[in-house]
Amino acid sequence: MHDIHISEPAWRTTFPHLVAPLPNEWIAGVLLRCDERNFWGSGTTLGHVLRPGSKRSAMNELSTIVPTVIDLEALAQALSVPVSRIVATTYLAELARLYGSEHLHAKLLSSSFTFHMCPACIVEERRLSRLLTLPHITHCPEHHLSLVSSCQCGAVLRLFHRQARPFTCYKCGLDWKHLPQRKMDPARMETEQQILSSYDFFWTHGTPELLASTLRLIYDSVVEKGEIRVALPNEDAQAASDGRSYHISTSLGYLVQALWQLDLSPRDVMVYAGPLPWRSIKWMTFQCSEPNCPYVGMIRNRTRLLDHTEDQQQGT
């Protein structure tokens, strides 16, 4: 983005100090950095871009994950960045593609929200990563630290609080960067890496069809194992607080957790969604004595496709 000169119309439609979203930054972090850079109290920027009728407190709850209460266009204009860069600080585009709907709700990702952050990210760049909003993630993949959800004084961290400075405890005023940095348990970290790769898979390849197929896969796996280890998908229609009905159709957080619990990987999901009849045995170990077995041929094709996809992901 070029500098804005005082003679340009954009001067009058932008905040005094601009902040640009960092790669993979979460919108709440952008709002707080904007507050801090402009010497405003925590939540001041949020108050400016809240949609009419929305409550500021919503951004300390589930709505933070899918910020439907924020006027993203207004925020983009005030920061002089393309709307797409603001959208990229949320999971709105990914969820819309995954669920095939423009009417998004935070419950499509998670049924609850706890704010936690990585003190090392705050020290380095005052950065809140978008990954921190994902259910079942309790460590920072970059710093390998446990995420912190409460202050040393005992107060639960709140993203936005009228009486607080940005990135500080609303009770004792301690800067979040001073919160203790605790190493994450390696075993738990490994588990969360698997969960993160599942999220990544759905963000990259997710479609309503793939979602439905994943649900069937989970159901079949549960039946096949003969034990119920996860609750069955709940497909009841529910009503959102704004009165609009939405289909809960199982949150992504639930799906990802279920896949992990059932020891299913994105590869399994891809194969299950493919043309092969799904088998209870792991598809990668499927063997056949027939030299021209069509199943083996198709499996090889799918393997190549998956390897290619992973290569692409690593490349990006």
Binding site: W11, P16, A20, F39, W40, T44, G47
Partner: protein
Amino acid sequence: MMTNFDARPPFVVHDYFLETAFELRFQGLLRSAWQDRTWHVIAALPGSGKSLGIADFLQQSSSYKNARGTTHIPVLAIRAPKNGGKDLALGMAISAEFGILPTMPWYVRRSWLIQAMADVQTECIIIDDAQDLNLAHLAFLKEVTDNLAAPPHARQIGLCLVTAHSGKIIPLKEIFSQPDILWRQFRRRLDTERPFCVVQGHTEEEVRSILIAFEDIYRSQFPDLQLGRWTKPIFTWLTHATLDPDGSKRVTMDHLTRLVTSALRQSYEQGATDVTAQALQATAELMTLRRDEIIAIESLPTSLPISVQEVS
């Protein structure tokens, strides 16, 4: 020389900012206040080009905002709030110069303003139409500049209160001469050598330079334009008692521009490629002798060039 005027496009007025002698004097004073962080009351006749000069000066001040969060506003220029109002009105006017601001209580904005001005490295404040400032505004200005001058900011600020004046009276001069503590403090902060300045309009020679600049500006529409040769009569007309009631024998840019563009427009519509003394004189008479004449509007406007169609 006349041309086939049916074939000519409509007359176009070019309202470029000209760096006239007045602007050089006026902007020189602003620049000096900015560089030396001095305080002045700067007066000039209405229509001299003060506001345009401030706008141009602001453009040259290299204020910018960048995406890395750095904003630089060395010169803050505002127009004094109208209809009185309290310090809030002036505070809102100053803070609006930063861009859009979320709603916040006045006590918060008040302290924010000090911090923001220090952060963007403000070095000079220019207030246009400063004759409209009241006691509350001036007290607030003093508070802001004093806070910036004090630790931790330790930032001296230049201040230019730009006013329109007439006759020998310079607005604010009498106010600052009053014995109240506030005014004495204000008076003490004014520059020692040039506390109250009157920037003069254009002399005859300066008018000639401007007319020659107009020749170049309108050359594409008037290939034979020679305005410079009418300098003397134009100067005489524009220093007529009606337009120069104080007898300053100086010409304001507003009067000069009005005379020239009006005469040029009429000449252009008649197909001329130069302007005659008669055309200039007729316009000058309209501006002086006939300025209060009431014009009866009886005829219908000329038909629109586009066809009007009924839509269902």
